[in-house]
Amino acid sequence: MGGQSGQISRRDFLKTAAAGLTLSLAGKPGFLAAKEEHDLVVMSGAPATATKAALEAIGGISRFVTKGKQVVLKPNMSFSNPPEWGSTTHPLVVATVAQACIDAGALRVVVLDYPLRPAELCLKRSGIQEACKPIKGVYVLALEDRKFFREIKVPQGKVLDRVEVFKEVLDSDVLINLPQAKTHSATGVSLGIKNLMGLIWDRYSFHSRYNINQALADLATVIKPQLTILDATRALVSGGPGGPGEVQKPNLIIAGIDPVAVDSYGVSVAPWYGQNFRGRQVEHLLVAHQRGLGQIDLDQLRILKGKA
């Protein structure tokens, strides 16, 4: 498979993980004192360290994951591209969160996606499988068969009545959304809420039958991740969602409980298609906000910015 540029060597992983660990041991940074008072944490730094710091700042993963819980992580690993392309979540972000969940006593962590490209290639080339391999209790799955989905009702759906969702998500205790920040030719940007489309069976109807922006908001009423950690360490600012396109490096990890707030902030971190936008300008986010799913206006949010 040519150059293994997409792969993370174990050594690299251990190095960064060790760096993260050192950071957390080297004395708790001041921002930790203010935990739980912030709606959003925006952490600047390398993927693993920034993720680790963001988790601490949001109050620690133990706020969401306690002993014996079953956790599902939903990164974007829909494409068989290496992390440099900016089309998939950085493997170290996924591995760091997975490790934190295990450390918090999670029974198991399932890293899950329904990929757009051949599953095996996505797992391999995104680097996520390799990065999570050393962590015991973490399973990286890319599932492509309908038998792994179960239909649920969408009581508050405007266009969507029912949707088939991964059983694994429905049956687990905690869902953590780990989207990659990128452009999307249908929805403008693909951030947290758009990332949820990787958990359902029939995504084509979102394009053909429904207004995708309404359908996404409907979906967000039934799939509610406890935590969203947006990977904006790299941002695919054109050619999204699959690339190839221009990749910028905001070097940011944005964590929050409010999915609309995280996405809204995510809109502001990079110029998409060469233009600057606000959250309100992204139709599916605006719809979600209007439906009461979260806060879209950044000035209404208590944001903690930090550097890791």
Partner: protein
Amino acid sequence: MRTYLQALSLFFFTALFAFANYRLPEWLPADIYLRLDPLLGLSAVLAGKEVIRRAFWSLIVLGTTLVIGRFFCAYVCPMGATLDFLDLLSSRQKNRQGFKGEASWRKVKLFLLILFLGSALAGLSLAYLMDPLSFLTRFYTFFLYPLFITSINLLIDFLRPLFQALGWIDLSHLHYTQPVYYMTFITFSIFAAIIALSRFAPRFWCRYLCPLGAFLSFISPLGLFKRRVGPECNECLKCQKACPMGAVQEDPKKTNLPECIQCRTCAEVCPKGAISFPAFPSPDRVSKLGGEYAAVDFSRRGFLYSMTGGLTVAFLAGRTPFTPLQGKQQFIRPPGAVPESEFLRTCIRCGECMKSCLTNTLQPCFWESGLSGLWTPKMDLRFAPCEQNCNVCGKVCPTQAIRSLSLEEKTHAKVGTAVLRKELCLVWAQDKLCLICDEICPYNAIVFRTVEGYRRPVVIASRCNGCGFCEQRCPIQGGSAIVVVPNGEIRLKEGSYIQEAKKLQLEFKPDPGDDKFILEQSGFKVGDGKDLEKSALPEEKKQPKKPKGFL
């Protein structure tokens, strides 16, 4: 001993078949059995009028046959092993009736051989129809492999509750994508018919039909090892009954040498231990060799008839509109396929490419290009796309009808061009927000341009290599609003696809940021269709240049 070797050979054949997938390492020739087959090699070389490098491997089998004799059929051939194995399973050989018309049937395989070689000379590849290795690989691909996956999945589904109860996460989510093929039923029926023929005689196929066996029987009498019956023989005729090839003559001391596959069954059953296979036959046998060699029961007339038959079939098969239409049909050949007429001549229809295909897009043709195109691989892009990180089809092609290309070369082996059918497209026809084709396109060959107030998809032909992701994912029911047509395909007998693509100013690896480039250009400076430009420009001013999804 023989049974073990046979089982081992069948195992190797099956293992190599299993290894034929996109992860196939460069050094492993998964198609080695097919390369070793001198009939397939000769037929492809004659039909294609080209030197095929991989066909030189078959010299190994020719050489060893010249030295040892027709051992291939008894020890190596996986088809022979399969037949023997199935024979073992059904113990019907005991009450098998004698087969009448034995001598005249025996010639059939010779006729077939000459017929196939004749048709190959005239440019029609037919040997694949009955060559045992191509035949068995086809059966494996189109029948056994899908059946195997189905069975495995059924088993996993059955055990799944157990896995879940035990908390075995990986196993409880295990599922293998089911491969499916158009020609499964036909392939299976033919195979079943041939198995059924074993009812009449053991190894019916090998005795009467196999053209590869016929080919080897021409040279095998020259081999060193010969059956020899000693004076202890009491003419009990047990050997005659036991011989799977019927190679023991009326006089049990005599051997029909071309038919003898050196399986040594006769020696095993002989109560007197009179039969041996000495390496250096006694001088008197050597002097008889000429006489026995003539026992290849084939007349000059028979040769002429079958040769004429082969040529006639080939000429008639070529005299259809399919021939002038070669390369103009609607179907897409795999990337790296040599130009169409050469492709049809050299493809041996083994199905390895279709087995190994990562996405299952490679499907066997039925009558799409007539008799000359049966079982040849085509891409069914509505069903599945061609994955950009896979180049296995060329790697496993024994005759290089699909050239083995590096990933980079394969990316440039354009198989066709996507065309938008605007009357079906949700965006063009119904102003809907669908952009699946753009989302999935690995080469950024689909861009959006503002036309009549909406941003609509447009294909940039010079960036499309025909991989078909767009066609497969298009959500239109019943068809696809974006279809890959063979127009613009690059098919080279030799030389670099990268160079050729460069010459044609094609680019399948766009620079980062080209979407932005298109955006700034608003899609109207890429000089195709001035009418479009005029009608769209005024709209363009009213509509601020915002990407889709932004308000």
